[in-house]
């Protein structure tokens, strides 16, 4: 059953290749094919979810056993991210009725294929290929609005991403030249013990920095604010929600399987906490809503990275919880904010012109802040617990202080929304209903999910357990042909 999951990657590619030709005959309907494909993917994943069960599965591509060929690794974590990606992509799918450029659909499909590939792949170089695929697709999507600002933002994004990818490739090259393998399970046998010195460390750092570009890791995220505030809002929502989380997921796999060294964890913890603090402070200063959300997204990614860098089961669980929360929440916030791309002072009295949208915004932002009993609180609680379990008291305090700064700017925003003084008519902005149905679905998932909290936490714990089980990963992928050439190093 799980073998058919390869279709997740292949079908979007197939459709993307064909779509420019199909579009000539179907015209505006061609967008629909993408939606249908995503629906099919959801069915595929739902069908496979149960069959994966407790033990992870592996797909051998080309039928070659693990260290030779490429493998896809299917466990609950990967499946979960694949499902969430599909759902969000389906909700954000750009179904415009007019002025349809088929190339937009094509890029979306390619981006999604890249996402699936990165999520599922168990091969270092294959991950890099799909990562590049999604990166290149997102360069194109970012410049969609075709404004000067979006070109500049896109160029900035391109430069940083390309340089980051170059470093990641360098890291992979280092690893390959020292081990001669790119299969993650195979490397997980070799690197932690045999490469625990300069080479391993430099490869680890290069990989983390390279993939950190999309993960909004602190000093390599200078594209975030520009891109998120000038790109198409659906693209922004996808980048902030899904793509950044997928990159974090990759970093998690790296530090769990390949580089389980305390120095690397510390490096990530340091960058993560600086990201949180700088992100919150910058958001405090930001004068327009989209930048504010972008900076807060940087901070949230920092939190996820900190959680993963704890590298304990609790930390992984907290990180997944935070990532899922942010993955569902940020797209909704960005869509709500999509018509408020000006100074936040223009938003004064927004609640009068669009009461429901602003109420929803406030609730979601409160969840972002971690106000109980909203879902964000539980995720944050898990993070704090795992930090405490590792006795990172200073980090704990810094995270909490950053939350106060976050509260300061979010409440300032709320008060602007609900300000009673009248604004001149032409300055008034309304959040329109056009983007409302994905927003409602996402917030519905979040808020209704609250009722299944204990259930959800249990399955999260199970996933975290599965994720941190290195033995299971190696055994699943390599199967009988274990310990290949280990002595040669």
């Amino acid at each position: 059953m799980q073998d058919s999951l390869i279709l997740l990657v292949v079908l979007p590619l197939l459709l993307a290749f064909l779509l420019p030709v199909i579009a000539r005959y179907l015209g505006n309907l061609s967008g629909l094919t993408g939606s249908l494909l995503l629906l099919f993917n959801i069915l595929l994943l739902a069908n496979a979810w149960n069959s994966v069960g407790y033990s992870p599965k592996v797909i051998l591509l080309g039928g070659f056993a693990a260290p030779l060929g490429i493998v896809f690794y299917i466990d609950k974590l990967n499946m979960l991210f694949a499902i969430l990606t599909t759902i969000i992509a389906l909700l954000l799918w750009p179904c415009r009725t007019h002025n349809t450029d088929v190339r937009e659909y094509v890029l979306w499909l390619l981006l999604l294929a890249g996402c699936y590939g990165v999520i599922l792949s168990g091969d270092l170089f294959n991950i890099y290929v799909f990562y590049e695929l999604l990166a290149v697709a997102s360069y194109g999507l970012v410049t969609l609005p075709a404004t000067g600002a979006s070109y500049i933002a896109g160029f900035r994004y391109l430069m940083i991403s390309a340089l980051g990818s170059a470093f990641a490739l360098l890291g992979i090259a280092l690893i390959y030249s020292f081990t001669g393998s790119v299969n993650i399970a195979h490397l997980a046998q070799i690197i932690p013990d045999h490469l625990h010195h300069i080479w391993g460390y430099s490869a680890a750092l290069l990989l983390i920095i390279g993939f950190g570009v999309k993960a909004e890791l602190f000093p390599v995220n200078f594209w975030v604010a520009e891109v998120y505030s000038h790109a198409d809002k659906r693209v922004t929502a996808l980048l902030a929600g899904v793509v950044s989380k997928i990159a974090v997921l990759i970093i998690l796999r790296f530090i769990i399987l390949l580089f389980p060294w305390q120095d690397i964890f510390n490096f990530l913890l340091l960058l993560g906490i600086i990201g949180v603090i700088v992100g919150e402070f910058a958001a405090f200063y930001a004068q327009d809503l989209l930048r504010l959300l972008a900076f807060s997204s940087i901070a949230q990614s920092g939190l996820v990275i900190i959680a993963f860098a704890c590298a304990t089961e609790a930390g992984i669980m907290a990180g997944i919880a935070l990532a899922i929360h942010h993955l569902l929440l940020k797209p909704a916030l960005f869509l709500l904010a999509s018509h408020c791309d000006r100074s936040i002072n223009d938003l004064a009295g927004l609640a009068k012109s669009s009461p429901w949208a602003s109420a929803l915004f406030v609730i979601l932002a409160l969840s972002l802040l971690g106000v109980p009993p909203l879902p964000g609180f539980w995720a944050k609680l898990l993070l704090l617990q795992s930090l405490m379990a590792e006795q990172y008291l200073l980090l704990l305090v810094l995270v909490l202080l950053a939350t106060i700064v976050e509260a300061a700017y979010l409440f300032r925003l709320f008060m602007l929304f609900y300000q009673r003084q009248e604004m001149p008519e032409q300055k008034r902005i309304t959040i329109q209903g056009q983007e409302l149905y994905p927003v409602i679905t996402l917030s519905g998932i979040l808020l209704l999910g609250l009722f299944f909290l204990p259930l959800f936490m249990d399955s999260l714990r199970e996933i975290a357990m599965q994720t941190s089980n290195i033995e299971a990963y190696i055994n699943t992928v390599l199967g009988k042909v274990q310990h290949i050439g280990e002595g040669n190093i």
Binding site: M159, F167, P219
Partner: protein, 623 residues
């Protein structure tokens, strides 16, 4: 166990919220809501004997997360506070239900926020573990923010500063909870108490300090006191009364539960601050004493009656904390009793002040005066209220303050006793200023045509005033539940009777005291009238000032620059250190924010990427 499930109360509260949200604008809704609050109060009162016997009212509402079952059950302490809450909310809604509502446009918001506040507070009072406590705590903070911000403008600004303080507090509590969880692997009060000693002494100290900070911020303990007065003063009348009466006591309740039930006062006594400078208990007592003195003297300076009362609210909170921390049967009893007493007279005082400002349009003490002839009921209520606030017999404030004084003296803390007395002196001075500047002296010209407030507003005031008097007369009414509280918490129980307490060394019987007072007054009156009532009727305008002849159109009212001598002496002490500190923090944050923002906006972004790679690789080479 329980006669009445807590579910009924929760259900009523939801009905409450629903009515307020859906039909809050209709004129009759205020009355319905008042009845509902009274009904809720009564439903707790009818099963109060169960609570007194040590049982709990439990709710079927429950959820399990992280192996922690969070459920809600109301013990006697929660029940006591809940009764005060319902009393305050009910009377405040009553006050706003009649004529007053017509002049206040966002009345629906007010009703809804009030209902939300009450519901959140009940969740807090009924919480049974740290997780439930924290959830309810944040809810209370949020709904308080809403209700404080209701008027916009100044009050919104105050609400903003409130919510920031509240978040600081919440984060402190969260940190404490996480540390506790790490040590005990549980959030339940019982478990935590049981495993408390597994934490190192340092951790215990940190946890206690964090909890004090977190919960103390809500009751505006020093040095986090700056937010409260503006937040409570610039809101509409019923809100001010409600907030002043009970809202900030939620912090006290939580502290009370945590310090006495979970941590235990014996643990507090054995904790020492670093370098063994000072015992934790003594430290906290002095903090409470400062919280009593400083805000009280700040109150003395105020010229706005609302601010004056609000600052007193902070000071009286210090009083309660002083009592509770004295770790003495009398002291804890006095501290808890003061919560009720303070709620009753503070609400009465706020109502009186807001009645005046409802009629005159101002609460500025420099622009009032002589209203006693026009608003006699408000005057009487304020008189009763300030006697209570000043802690003089025969009102209830006297009893609780007496208990606290007695406890401090018994525990051998004469300096603290002195501090309490200084605080009380400040209170007396400022409440005299309040009543004098509002009601005494000559009526101002512009206030000639003023009438007493309508019955819908004066009846709740009078009810409160009579509560102030009755509980002063029969303190045993309150002491019964306080004793039950003490026995459920396992601390020493006060020996009480209807009229007061037996202390062993002496005995306070308010029935005797008040009866004697009343008798003395009666006898005086009797003698006075028997002797033929030799008085001369004078009008308010009969006045004489420094040899200067005053015509009836020149109204004389000594109100500006009150207590000049005293002020000259103490005004150098008003330093605004905390204000300075606050603005320093704000500008630091702004500076940091600017730097962070500039970092993201700079042009040479690639350099940082390369720089990071170079630095991290150099680090690798160095390691």
């Amino acid at each position: 166990m329980s006669v009445l499930d807590l579910d009924h109360v929760f259900f009523l509260l939801i009905v409450n919220i629903g009515i307020a949200v859906l039909w809050g604008n209709r004129p009759f809704v205020g009355k319905i809501l008042t009845l509902l609050y009274i009904l809720e109060g009564l439903s707790i009162l009818t099963s109060y004997h169960v609570l007194l016997s040590g049982a709990v009212l439990s709710s079927s509402l429950t959820f399990t997360v992280m192996q922690q079952t969070v459920q809600w059950q109301l013990g006697v302490s929660g029940g006591f506070f809940a009764l005060i809450t319902f009393m305050a909310a009910g009377l405040a809604t009553w006050f706003s239900s009649g004529v007053w509502a017509r002049s206040y446009a966002p009345i629906r918001l007010l009703h809804s926020y009030m209902a939300l506040n009450v519901a959140a507070m009940l969740l807090l009072l009924a919480s049974n573990d740290f997780l439930g406590l924290f959830i309810a705590w944040e809810l209370v903070s949020l709904v308080s923010f809403l209700i404080i911000a209701i008027n916009g403008g100044r009050s919104a600004k105050a609400a903003y500063s409130y919510i920031l303080y509240a978040f600081l507090g919440a984060m402190a509590i969260l940190l404490a909870l996480i540390i506790i969880w790490n040590a005990t692997n549980s959030f339940s009060y019982v478990e935590v108490r049981h495993h408390w000693s597994t934490m190192s002494v340092n951790r215990q100290l940190i946890v206690v300090l964090l909890l004090i900070t977190g919960f103390g911020i809500k009751m505006a303990i020093l040095p986090f006191h700056r937010w409260q007065a503006p937040a409570y003063a610039y809101v509409p009348a019923p809100v001010a009364a409600f907030l002043g009466a009970i809202s900030s006591r939620m912090g006290l309740f939580a502290l009370f539960i945590v310090l006495l039930q979970v941590v235990g006062i014996d643990v507090i006594q054995t904790l020492w601050l670093p370098f063994e400078i000072i015992n934790m208990q003594t430290f906290l007592l002095w903090l409470a004493a400062l919280t009593l003195i400083i805000p009280t003297f700040i109150a003395l300076r105020q010229t706005d009656a609302r601010l004056l009362l609000a600052w007193h609210g902070i000071g009286q909170g210090g009083f309660m904390l002083l009592g509770i921390l004295s770790a003495n049967a009398l002291g804890t009893a006095g501290g808890i009793m003061h919560v009720f007493n303070h709620a009753s007279y503070q609400a009465a005082l706020f109502f009186a002040v807001f009645s005046v400002s409802y009629r005159t349009g101002t609460a500025d003490l420099d622009r009032l005066g002589g209203l006693v002839t026009r608003m006699p009921i408000s005057f009487t209520v304020m008189l009763v209220g300030i006697i209570g606030l000043a802690g003089l017999p025969p009102m209830n404030g006297f009893v609780s303050k007496w208990l606290i004084y007695k406890a401090l003296l018994d525990e051998g803390m004469p300096l603290l006793f002195l501090a309490a007395v200084i605080g009380t002196l400040g209170t007396i001075l400022s409440v005299y200023k309040l009543i004098h500047n509002t009601f005494l002296g000559q009526l101002r010209l512009e206030h000639e045509n003023i009438k007493e407030v309508p019955w819908s507003m004066s009846i709740p005031m009078m009810i409160l005033a009579s509560i102030v008097f009755i509980t002063g007369y029969f303190p045993g009414l309150l002491l019964e539940s306080i004793a039950a509280m003490q026995s459920t918490l396992g601390i020493s129980v006060v020996d009480y009777h209807l009229g007061g307490v037996n202390t062993g060394k002496g005995n306070l019987n308010m029935i005797v005291v008040v009866s004697t007072m009343l008798m003395a007054i009666g006898m005086g009156a009797l003698i006075f009238f028997v002797l033929g009532n030799p008085r001369k009727q004078v009008t308010q305008w009969d006045n004489y000032a420094g040899g200067h002849f005053l015509t009836s159109d020149m109204r004389y009212q000594y109100s500006h620059n009150f207590y000049p001598g005293l002020m000259r002496v103490i005004s150098p002490l008003y330093r605004n250190t905390i204000f300075w500190l606050e603005s320093a923090i704000v500008s630091t944050v702004q500076f940091m924010a600017h730097i962070s923002y500039a970092l993201f906006m700079q042009a040479n972004y690639l350099l940082y990427l390369i720089l990071l790679v170079v630095i991290s690789l150099l680090w690798v080479l160095a390691v």
